[in-house]
Symmetry: C2
């Protein structure tokens, strides 16, 4: 068993990651790592796709939610859990709460997609709608929490969540130990900070890059400026990436991340189509963000230079974070 060199200085240490993995393993899928010679040819490198779109509830979010909810004491669990989410975290919290035998209240904006609402309800989650503003969301969540006494499960500003999300990259590195680089999308940073911890815990020298839409570039600005930046716009097609880093995830990324790669909306759409056509898998736009940099001219060189790689970067892991997209047919 590898020990985590880079990881020990962060609040989420290797012991926490191992405990998280043991805790969630009976509940989640160990998702397959898929490859495609035709995408390798396009990228000029060997790509290894960790398919969290094939995960239970359709995204990696179930890893963190399960770790957080199964870490609660009996007394806490009896009070139920609460989360605010317009997407995958809500479904994951509802599902993990049902597994734990407790109740989940999910605060969702009135304009949330009907598909996402049905997913939460299908796992037994109780939805409370709020207005689609940060203020209404906070007030509604506080009110429901006060009424129910439920335990808040934050989508990323939570060490148990980060430890849970780290297990996707941990599994990927266990299966393909000689990766040079791992790419993951970044939004609030739970998956990306977990990816840094999980990947570098297995192989200290692996480089980890976050991939982010140009139209939601707060992580890029935060990392390059060294100061936590807020999100100015959020009109990207990658609807799972409309959150900003939190102090906890920013701290991990400042320590362990090797850089952020920005991608355009057109690149996201092209990557999503290519994954369906060539790899026969359905991913949501947020997942396609992590493949997109590999498909542009000079993408491999860009990554190799950013990671100061000598010799050339050859094996690249890509975390496909989820598959929950409203298909139009």
């Amino acid at each position: 068993m590898a020990t985590a060199n880079s990881v020990t200085a962060t609040p989420v240490d290797w012991a926490a990651i191992l405990a998280a993995h043991d805790r969630i393993r009976p509940h989640i899928h160990r998702t397959p790592v898929l490859t495609s010679k035709s995408l390798d040819a396009l990228a000029g490198a060997r790509l290894y796709f960790k398919c969290e779109n094939l995960q239970k509830t359709g995204s990696f979010k179930i890893r963190g939610a399960t770790n957080a909810i199964f870490s609660l004491t009996e007394e806490e669990a009896r009070r139920g859990v609460i989360a605010h989410s317009s997407g995958n975290h809500g479904a994951a919290v509802a599902c993990a709460a049902r597994w734990r035998g407790t109740t989940a209240s999910i605060v969702m904006p009135r304009n949330a997609s009907p598909v996402k609402c049905r997913a939460v309800e299908s796992y037994g989650g109780k939805i409370t709608f709020c207005e689609p503003t940060v203020t209404s969301r906070s007030e509604t969540t506080a009110r429901v929490q006060a009424e129910t006494g439920a335990v808040m499960i934050h989508p990323y500003d939570n060490d148990r969540i980060i430890a849970g999300q780290s297990t996707a990259a941990k599994e990927l590195l266990e299966e393909i130990p000689d990766l040079d680089v791992v790419l993951a999308p970044v939004s609030g940073g739970g998956l990306l900070s977990g990816t840094c911890l999980g990947a570098k815990g297995i192989k200290q020298a692996v480089k980890v890059f976050g991939c982010e839409p140009e139209r939601a570039d707060d992580a890029y600005r935060s990392i390059t400026s060294g100061t936590l930046q807020s999100l100015e716009t959020s009109d990207t097609i990658a609807d799972g990436l409309r959150a900003s880093l939190a102090p906890r995830t920013f701290a991990v990324l400042q320590k362990l991340l090797d850089g952020i790669l920005l991608v355009s909306e057109a690149e996201i759409v092209a990557a999503m189509k290519l994954l369906a056509q060539r790899m026969k898998i359905v991913v949501e736009p947020s997942s396609a963000v992590a493949l997109a940099p590999m498909l542009r001219a000079g993408g491999l060189q860009e990554i190799a230079m950013a990671g100061q790689h000598h010799p050339a970067t050859r094996k690249i892991g890509i975390i496909l974070s989820g598959g929950n997209v409203d298909l139009k047919w």
Copy 2:
């Protein structure tokens, strides 16, 4: 290692299947077996999907083609290979021929989909177009074969092809040994006869059913009448299932198959959408045919009765044959 009880009386014996698997294993993917709790709930049984849509070239056809082409003598291989196909078999023969270091001529109808033609060419196959009639296809194939001396690789009326296709079900039963039933689509019968041989070679008591569009029901009529029937119509959306059984596949099916389940066009489309929405995978309509019977009211009972199961059928394997579909976005 299991030995094959039911299988020894057929020309494709267990030794041939083991040899085929050893021969192709270095080249093909061992495709994942995926599961979905939500589809289990719809079907009322536990479903295990063997994902040949994630196979190299996008379908199971690469298994048979690789076995056939790597079984050729050096002298035969030097002559090159030839196949007629409007779809997955052509791409598979071209790809396996390239792996073997020889040339492939593929005879395709003029109205073949541009996507399928590009796939053949991307593997280095040389296309000769014919008119979209059986006569023109035969004449063109015979002419090219006479000119080149290439070895004909029939898509299913070939023991090496059948042995290769059998390895998908063999892998499925190796991974899930206690399956009660396996479902596979049927067209020319290469996959279905291979599925009977591969599955029953591991577990003699497993029931195997073919799934077929109502609009291309020749296998159903052949099996129920006991006489090889031709295909009257072929306007099903399942474009991979527009061939008829051959004497060789019919003989295997008469001996080993437990029945044929017919499905409507609407059931095929619904199954295909459900696989994308719930399982996040892209399948071609021909693959969806094998899930469709499980989704209708009474589907499980229909299968349990057809297989004369006591007690109830609980674990069902489904061969998802391919993922090559022209997506409209």
